[in-house]
Symmetry: C2
Subunit: 141 residues, 2 copies
DNA sequence: AATGCGAATGAGAATGGTTATCATTTGCGC
DNA sequence: GCGCAAATGATAACCATTCTCATTCGCATT
């Protein structure tokens, strides 16, 4: 019940722009997309959605729990489908490729550290910035 | 040799704006400051430094290794003196207070995870967003 | 201490990502 | 099919940050 399959169960009317953007996230092979990226993809496939609407829809989807927003080192926000499983990210500095990981030990340490400092964790973000040049860097920039 | 005491050893002329900003970081009790914050502090103490200069100096200091730049959840960059000891951050969502920590286990796990994925770590950022309301939240917003 | 020159600064314009405004259009219950 | 609230598109506005360019300053050299 963390990620509703359709828009109405998220309390959102099913409109053309929303459906297009949602299906983009579900079908694109790149899980992590920016507003501008989405706008460009839609326009290059002949779908006209205004940039303002892209931003509005992304924010709504985030609030509805459909999407997660990330702030990597670039200035723009990046979004991914919220599949309900928390994970952290490795971001390639060469090609912007993003890989996901989850580590029980890190999660546990964080909880303990926050507790030791008297805090209650709300959320956290862990981004590892790295080079994947020795591997097959998929989309060199 | 990681954090030069003065500007010339960092290859920077010692000018009034640079000296003021550096001493602000060295003397202010809040280690983490934004460009706007610095501008405001300087102006309320009668020191006139233009906002453009604040931004320029912060960027130069960062490149010289004097300062570290962080992107917390707010849209603006936050800086702190680079004392040469890496650490991560807990950011209070109530009052923006920042606390630092360092955990050997987390560092080790990160290195291992990156290696397992075939990456070479360049750097990483770990921010824990939390509530310190149960403690004495110093500057309620 | 006066000179000169490249670097630094200030004021304000410009930029890039994102949000707000408002007239027009659309989804959808009746 | 009607009607109205909600959603959209076009564009202006916003905010943090960077750029431009004329003026000023640090500092090495006389």
């Amino acid at each position: 019940m963390h990620q509703p399959k359709n828009l109405q169960s998220a309390g959102l009317k099913s409109t053309t722009p929303r459906l297009k953007i949602l299906s983009l996230f579900e079908n694109s092979k790149e899980r992590h997309l920016s507003a501008e990226g989405i706008y460009n993809i839609l326009h290059s496939s002949g779908e006209d959605v205004s940039l303002a609407t892209v931003y509005r829809v992304l924010t709504q989807f985030e609030q509805a729990g459909l999407l997660l927003r990330h702030h990597f080192e670039s200035e723009k926000s990046v979004f991914e489908l919220n599949l309900g499983k928390h994970h952290d990210h490795i971001v390639c500095l060469q090609c912007d490729h993003v890989e996901e990981f989850y580590d029980t030990a890190i999660e546990a340490r964080q909880k303990k550290i926050a507790a030791d400092h008297g805090f209650t964790i709300h959320e956290h973000s862990l981004y590892i910035y790295a080079d994947c040049t020795k591997r097959n860097c998929p989309n060199k920039r």
